[in-house]
Amino acid sequence: MSFEPKIIGFLCNWCSYTGADLAGTARMKYPANLRAIRVMCSGRIEAGFILDAFRNGADAVLICGCHIGDCHYSEGNHKCLRRLPVIKKLVEQFGIDPERVRLEWVSASEGDRFRKIVTEYTEQIRKLGPLTLRDLDFEPPPEVEHDEVKPKEEVCHV
């Protein structure tokens, strides 16, 4: 079976979510790999949201907000703009390809742009492959028997 990436999309209510809606109502086709989560503003998105998405099985996170200058709360997307490099650096240090986090500005009228971004990003992540994280939960190691090995003639350097 081919790999279908799971992409979590955080879309700001005022522009990008409406843009995505427009793509939908205009019956534009784009991959169903994006799970959209509506947030009031891109400025609401914290580093923890992204790490949480990865912890819960996302292969990538797409963040969309209003273009600079258009934020409904005037400067929320500036916040997002400042957070992204910090988040990406952190994600990279965690050993996760920073390409798995992407920020795009999408206005309410840019349904087609939204479609293009999602299509292209899905392909990009498909190429990157699934994100597998190790040791997310503690697994008790198998019980060890203490003395089942017979003495051998090996030297131990101390």
Binding site: E46, P85, V86, L90, F94, L136, V149, K152, C156
Partner: protein, 323 residues
């Protein structure tokens, strides 16, 4: 009437937490007076078998410091859980993983490679590295097996309370110990399970007396690079201070001495990931909306993960670095 029994244990720890308990001065006499100390490797000569021979729940209180990173740590954590009525994660190692938890930036093999081979002070021509099992004439010698990933105590066994700090401050230890003695002596009710003892749920910034205004940073600096103003918030001076992401309880010790908070008291209860909270706080002081400039400012932080997760990598949402 027999006295309530007390155990203190160190797993993957530095010993500082044991010292912190001894450091409560004459209060230690109250502890010795009220409790019968039945196990405390740092201070008395008890053996694991002494604990194994006890009945379940025979120990009233266990203060467990140190994180869990090998089979011995894990075995004793399970044993003490079985034998204790109240198991308390004592200190940052047991609670969040702390400095030993930074091993989660690597794995066992790369740590062994460095420690036993590549480190400049090592002379190891025969490439000897510890083996958990070594057959010798007389049988098989075993030592505990080290794991790739360091865990917190609460991730491997059920924990009743947490006393944060690296180490917990003596006045807080005194307060906690006195409260517990009072509860046990007078048959009062124990605090609800999961309580954090010896700290509050505010942030370190709440206890800090430095003046805060607008935080606008064009470049982050390390503490040795500037002489910080003694009265102004360190973040405002470009020094990354974990205060906003750290639980209050130490009395803002480090910040009042002129060095930034490193985050040893852990996260507050409304935060799930201390480092992620700090990453967001760092971004909020950057003074720019130009992507390139923002990138340059972020790049002036030498070790983001080590700064944000110095004490809490095993407790983070992602637990470890993918290597």
């Amino acid at each position: 009437m027999s006295k309530p029994k007390l155990a203190v244990y160190w797993a993957a720890s530095c010993g500082g937490c044991d010292i912190a308990i001894l450091d409560i001065e004459e209060k230690i006499l109250d502890v010795a007076d009220f409790f019968d100390v039945v196990f405390w490797p740092c201070a008395f000569d008890f053996k694991y078998d002494d604990v194994r021979r006890m009945a379940d729940k025979e120990i009233t209180l266990t203060l467990f410091n140190g994180s869990i990173r090998n089979t011995e740590n894990y075995e004793i954590a399970k044993l003490l859980r079985e034998k204790s009525v109240v198991l308390c994660a004592f200190g940052s190692c047991a609670s969040e993983g702390c400095i030993p938890g930074l091993a989660n930036l690597h794995d066992r093999q790369s740590i062994f490679e460095y420690v036993y081979k590549d480190s400049p002070s090592v002379d190891n021509e025969q490439d000897v590295v510890p083996q958990s099992r070594t057959p010798v004439e007389e049988g098989v010698l075993t030592i505990p097996e080290m794991w790739d990933t360091v865990h917190t105590l609460g991730q491997v066994v059920d924990v009743d309370y947490m006393i944060p700090g690296c180490p917990p401050q003596s006045d807080q230890i005194i307060a906690v110990v006195s409260t517990i003695i009072d509860i046990l002596k007078n048959g009062k009710e124990l605090p609800p399970k999961g309580s954090i003892l010896g700290a509050t749920d505010k942030s370190c910034c709440d206890e800090c007396s430095r003046k805060r205004d607008v935080k606008k940073i064009k470049k982050f600096v390390r503490p040795f690079e500037i002489i910080p103003d003694p009265d102004i918030c360190l973040m405002e001076q470009g020094i990354i201070c974990m205060g906003p992401a750290t639980r209050a309880g130490c009395g803002a010790k480090c910040v009042s001495a002129g060095v930034p908070c490193r985050g040893c008291y852990g996260k507050t209860s409304n935060v799930r990931d201390q480092g992620a909270k700090m990453a967001t706080a760092i971004a909020s002081v950057i003074d720019s909306i130009d992507p390139d400039e923002i990138q340059a400012i972020v790049d002036s932080i030498p070790d983001l993960i080590g700064t944000c997760y110095r004490f809490s990598l095993p407790d983070s949402m992602l637990r470890r670095v993918q290597v």
